[in-house]
Symmetry: C2
Subunit: 174 residues, 2 copies
Amino acid sequence: MHYKQLQKISGAANDARSGDRAKGGRELHALGRHLLVELHGCHPDTLKKVDVVKDILVGAARACGATIVDVAFHEFNPFGVSGVVVIAESHLSIHTWPEYRYAAVDIFTCGDVIKPERAVSYVASRFRCKAPSVVEMKRGLIPGMTGKLPHKVAIDEKLGEAVADAAQELSLVH
Amino acid sequence: MHYKQLQKISGAANDARSGDRAKGGRELHALGRHLLVELHGCHPDTLKKVDVVKDILVGAARACGATIVDVAFHEFNPFGVSGVVVIAESHLSIHTWPEYRYAAVDIFTCGDVIKPERAVSYVASRFRCKAPSVVEMKRGLIPGMTGKLPHKVAIDEKLGEAVADAAQELSLVH
């Protein structure tokens, strides 16, 4: 797997060479991790049908331990599926181009519990992509923020599953 | 606005300095543009309520000329909204942290018609963010692909709007 880690720090705090420490010694903590996954060379049959693509992205959300809140998938004629799995810890999205054997997948997570790398491995395997390429962006770098980050944990209304989580700090309103 | 353009090219074709031309002279054409927008210093009242955040992201989709296919938004207790607008040309997503006056917005578009920069200006204005920071990633760089890129244009079932587009090449199945 080709993996690149980039940092997204806005304004004067931008110093990609300094890790999570900005100029002047202030520590920066990211609210989220955003993995941009390029899947080239996929099996085209896996990219065409909305039910298959939805099953794979929902499976990826489960594989990384996410709490599914909502799903929205659409298939287009003659080619392609677009879809999103909203999770309590942010979202997974996908857009497929079967004609190019290509899918663009995003995995945006917050909190320490979720392991987005597992979702990458899962989608690469299901789409039969041998060489997934991943860029990681840090999102929401807040100067001076310390300690464990809260993440949204929810009751999955749509799928009718009650989700229990001992670390629950937030609950779904709508 | 702080704007940075990065390129996402997988494997051996990766050469960010060479523009859209990979090593060896092959031309690369991206299927999509992906803008990662960091909004710090927002007015917290604009980040708290699902109806407000949904209205802003749907407005952003319209501002850039996108065709809305689906929306999925959720509000969490005590803080935060997550939501996605699936568009025929890919998607817009948002996650808000009112306690940090911060929102992470993604605008993923394909095709030449959509102007995602307009969506960036729109969300920054509505959230009262004075200094949005944007990183652009090219998604789906396909060696040798030439000509105008097809994009998905759809009938918006959910909102009951029939969308006409002379450049229509794809239509919604599900």
